[in-house]
């Protein structure tokens, strides 16, 4: 059965951010972060324009710490940045408003969490060299307030109707059947628990490599839609039996304990009203038209 939403009642609001710089802490602190074995490492991390990693690529294997594919943006003041972060939804259209790449079109693919709080936007690889740090990017935000008819207990988060309508979700005996690439058990959820689910990211824990192989999580790709068992992200992120959350892989793995690939949560419910259906094609690149 086809699923309908209140899409026609949603408000479409412009929000803007600027392409942000990579950041490191100042002296006398050392630049190194600690990996999960306690060894220091120094690698590129979140933010900026990443020229050679895109949505659809592997989330593992990069010499990087939770890198954001494509372009990351932020608003200079905190309240404005909260607006950008909360209202932007995965699948929303983005437009570059200044600089050499002015008027180029992109798509929101994820968000990042505490300490960075950026919105991640895909732009075609071939125009990325034209994009400058500080260029303004406007997002026509659309999705906050989204409700699914007959599933009033399901909270939608950072989820645009553009994406939802393409996710091939079906209603079967009053259960949402959601195509996903992977099912993640709740014990493998790390950084992000306890924080707000309206923006930010939740990270998979990847320190135990045998668990990665067991759940095939080492095959995760950026943009994969995934299902988390026994996890409630209705208001904040936390464990709850029989609850569920669905999200999109927004950023890559990293060496820190608790900081594997990042997830931007799209839907969650405390009720046992959804079922994951494993489909390897459940990736945003197969749902929304992307120029690579």
């Amino acid at each position: 059965m086809k699923i309908e939403t209140n899409e026609k009642l949603l408000v479409n609001v412009s929000v803007v951010g600027s392409v942000c710089q990579p950041n490191f802490q100042s002296l006398p602190a050392e630049p190194y972060r600690l990996d999960s074995n306690g060894s220091p490492f120094l690698l590129p991390s979140w933010g900026s324009i990443v020229h050679n990693v895109s949505i659809g690529d592997s989330a593992f294997g990069w010499e990087a710490d939770c890198i954001h594919p494509g372009v990351s943006i932020k608003y200079p003041n905190e309240a404005g940045n909260r607006g950008l972060n909360i209202l932007s939804c995965v699948g929303n259209d983005a437009t570059i408003m200044s600089g050499e790449a002015k008027n180029a079109k992109g798509i929101v693919t994820g968000k990042s969490g505490r300490f960075s709080e950026q919105v991640i936007v895909h732009f075609p690889k071939k125009i990325r060299e034209k994009i400058s740090i500080n260029d303004k990017i406007l997002i026509k935000s659309f999705g906050v307030g989204l409700k699914i008819n007959n599933f009033k207990d399901v909270f939608c988060k950072s989820l645009s109707p553009q994406l939802f309508n393409k996710m091939n979700i079906k209603n079967k005996n009053n259960k949402m059947i959601i195509p996903v690439t992977h099912i993640i058990p709740e014990h493998l959820i790390g950084a992000g628990s306890g924080l707000t689910s309206e923006s930010g990211s939740l990270h998979i824990q990847t320190t135990d490599s045998s668990e990665m192989t067991k759940y095939k999580l080492d095959k995760l790709k950026l943009g994969d839609i995934i299902y988390i068992e026994n996890y409630d992200s209705s208001y904040q992120h936390g464990f709850l039996r029989n609850a569920w959350a669905v999200g999109i892989i927004g950023q890559t793995n990293g060496p820190r304990a608790g900081y594997g690939p990042g997830i931007t949560i799209l839907m969650s419910s405390k009720k046992n009203n959804a079922k994951a259906k494993l489909e390897s094609s459940a990736n945003i690149i197969n749902y929304i038209k992307f120029i690579k």
Binding site: L42, P44, H51, V53, E63, E129, S132, N134
Partner: protein
């Protein structure tokens, strides 16, 4: 150059970062003490230097810590550190504002700011405050057959263009000059991912005797018994390869600066003297 030198280049991230062309600045009253205690005022550090370039001599200028080409930085302290930890020598630079907008240059090293070479006709169009973005590429670079050798802040293309040979499982790097560990000075207090270390040129007759006074900006150099993995310290049988990035200084404990690009032990890392081992030749830099 070894065609089959294996690296993890394909796993590295290419990330943009912006900096701003710096303005020369002085502390009041402007004098610095030279080795003999005389007060002098000399140009040096920051800004756009129009007539000193990579490949030019490191000694003999009427300047102090002269930074060839364009020096960029960010006043935001966290961005400043990101510039230092991500920008690699050999990276591409793109001017984003002002008269030279759209022109490209190449990173030639790191001092207290990042140093970028532009061709002369571009250089004259660059204004203090202009934004220059660097497409950083190289952080995390590894030599897969030499896991004990640590590579620091060089673009994979620079690594591939350098002259190497392998002898008895030891990587031999072409360098222009060997510096004795005892003349290594200012910079020992910093972590070795940040800025550079000056050689101490105060013993002028020794500089002449060892021909160190013929050093050029952009020269590859080697320091024997130097461990530059986590800091810059004396350690017997460790070897560090570095790049000369700024000019001489009159101040005690200072001199031309070198930034680390490789560090390892004598078991796997060696060197061969080749006067042509200079960044200008390796990267075929046009003046």
């Amino acid at each position: 150059m070894i065609p089959n030198l294996k690296t993890n280049e394909k796993k590295l991230i290419k990330m943009s970062i912006g900096g701003y062309v710096t303005q020369p600045s002085f502390k009041n009253p402007g004098y610095i003490p030279d080795n003999d205690g005389n007060s002098v005022i000399l140009p040096g550090m920051y800004g756009v230097v129009n007539n000193v370039k990579v490949g030019d001599k490191a000694f003999g200028w009427n300047g102090d810590h002269i930074e060839p080409g364009v020096s960029i930085d960010s006043e935001n302290i966290n961005e400043h550190f990101a510039l230092h930890y991500l920008v690699c020598t050999g990276n591409k630079a793109i001017v984003r504002s002002g008269e030279a907008k759209g022109k490209t240059g190449i990173v030639t090293g790191e001092h207290a700011r990042n140093l970028i070479h532009f061709e002369q006709n571009i250089l004259e169009k660059i204004c203090v405050g202009d934004q220059i973005d660097i497409i950083t590429h190289g952080r995390g670079l590894k030599l897969l057959d030499f896991p004990e050798i640590e590579i620091k802040k060089i673009d994979p293309n620079l690594l591939k263009s350098m002259n190497f040979k392998v002898e008895n499982k030891k990587l031999i790097v072409d360098v222009a000059i060997e510096l004795p560990i005892k003349i290594m000075g200012s910079g020992a207090e910093l972590n070795s991912e940040y800025v550079d270390q000056d050689l101490m040129s105060g013993d002028r007759s020794l500089m002449k005797k060892l021909k160190i006074d013929q050093m050029k900006l952009g020269d590859l150099i080697v320091i024997n018994h130097a461990d530059h993995r986590w800091g810059r310290s004396y350690k017997k049988d460790h070897v560090s390869i570095a790049l000369c990035i700024h000019g001489d200084s009159v101040m005690t404990g200072h001199g031309p600066g070198i930034m680390t690009i490789m560090t390892g032990t004598k078991k796997t890392l060696g060197w061969r003297i080749n006067k042509k081992a200079n960044l200008k030749n390796i990267l075929k830099i046009k003046l």
